[in-house]
């Protein structure tokens, strides 16, 4: 494999998206080529730095609950009404 071919594949190599055979060929090249090896190493470091510096976004459970409720309210015209809970009265047995 030539260096220019390797450079086209480095993104896939770093993200683990290469077929096994191509990955082995690329790894063999990296052992012999300091320039391509540097390219891979700095790509991985760049990705790791970004992951460490910027937190993953996350919706709060409170927001999720509130938003789901508001969504159901807004979509109410398109939704079936939940059956009303059965009144306790109908389960009372007649007194003998």
């Amino acid at each position: 494999m030539r260096c220019d071919e390797i450079h086209e594949l480095i993104g896939l190599f770093v993200d683990g998206g290469l077929p096994e055979e191509t990955m082995h060929r690329l790894e063999r090249h990296l052992l012999r080529c300091p320039a391509c090896s540097y390219e891979v190493r700095t790509m991985e470091q760049t990705r790791a730095l970004v992951q460490k510096a910027i937190p993953v976004s996350q919706l709060s459970p409170a927001y999720r609950e509130k938003a789901a409720a508001r969504l159901l309210d807004r979509l109410a015209p398109h939704l079936r009404r939940e059956p009303e809970p059965a009144s306790a009265r109908q389960w009372l047995l007649p007194l003998e």
């Binding site: 700095t42 990705r47 979509l75 939704l79």
Partner: protein, 199 residues
């Protein structure tokens, strides 16, 4: 069929069943679809707008509009495609509105042990954030979605409305640009440090 294609097909079939249940009036289908996609819609909106409040409003509006569109649609609706498309448009609309500048330091990780380590880590976080901010919009977004949010390229491609190959190529270019920005910013900060010591 590859694993990714199989997974995508299975997800689409599951989603199609949920949409049919929603069209029949089942409220549970709404909450399941909301739970499936809310985090992704939120992450995208947050990284575009830079505001948690705006992103939360966009999540609700995007889901409501996508469901309303699906309610009147006959046949299998491409719900996720609609949802992501509506999200993109809502984010662009939001960016056109006048806004207050975002707080750059928001979200930094302060859980550190001693002052020296803390200072070094805050400096690293600040430099990385500056470098990310310098990227062109499309490169910044793909880095945030793939490297921060850990989406795979297929998910990012769908949200960005690009092909898989175009997304992977964009991500590679973005990381290279980012590496150049980081090197330049670190050189600047080292030179400033040396000047401070010399004074």
């Amino acid at each position: 069929m590859t694993h990714a294609a199989y997974q995508s097909h299975t997800e689409s079939a599951f989603e199609a069943r949920l949409i049919r249940r929603f069209q029949e009036g089942d409220p549970d289908a709404v909450t399941v679809l909301f739970d499936l996609h809310a985090e992704r819609v939120f992450a995208y909106a947050l990284h575009i707008t830079g505001s948690r409040e705006d992103a939360e409003e966009i999540v609700l509006e995007a889901f409501a509009k996508a469901f309303e569109k699906a309610a009147g649609f006959r046949g299998d609706s491409p719900f996720r495609g609609w949802l992501f498309g509506i999200t993109r448009n809502l984010c662009l609309d939001r960016l056109r509105q006048p806004r207050l500048p975002a707080l750059e330091m928001e979200g930094l990780d302060w859980q550190l042990s001693d002052n020296g380590t803390m200072a070094a880590q805050i400096e690293t976080q600040t430099v990385v954030r500056q470098a990310v901010a310098l990227l062109p919009d499309d490169q910044r977004l793909v880095v945030l979605l793939c490297d921060v949010e850990q989406w795979d390229a297929r998910e990012a491609a769908e949200m960005l409305d690009k092909s898989l190959m175009a997304t992977k190529s964009l991500l590679y270019r973005a990381r290279r640009t980012l590496r150049t920005h980081l090197a330049a910013l670190w050189n600047d900060s080292e030179e400033e440090g040396e000047t401070d010591h010399a004074l």
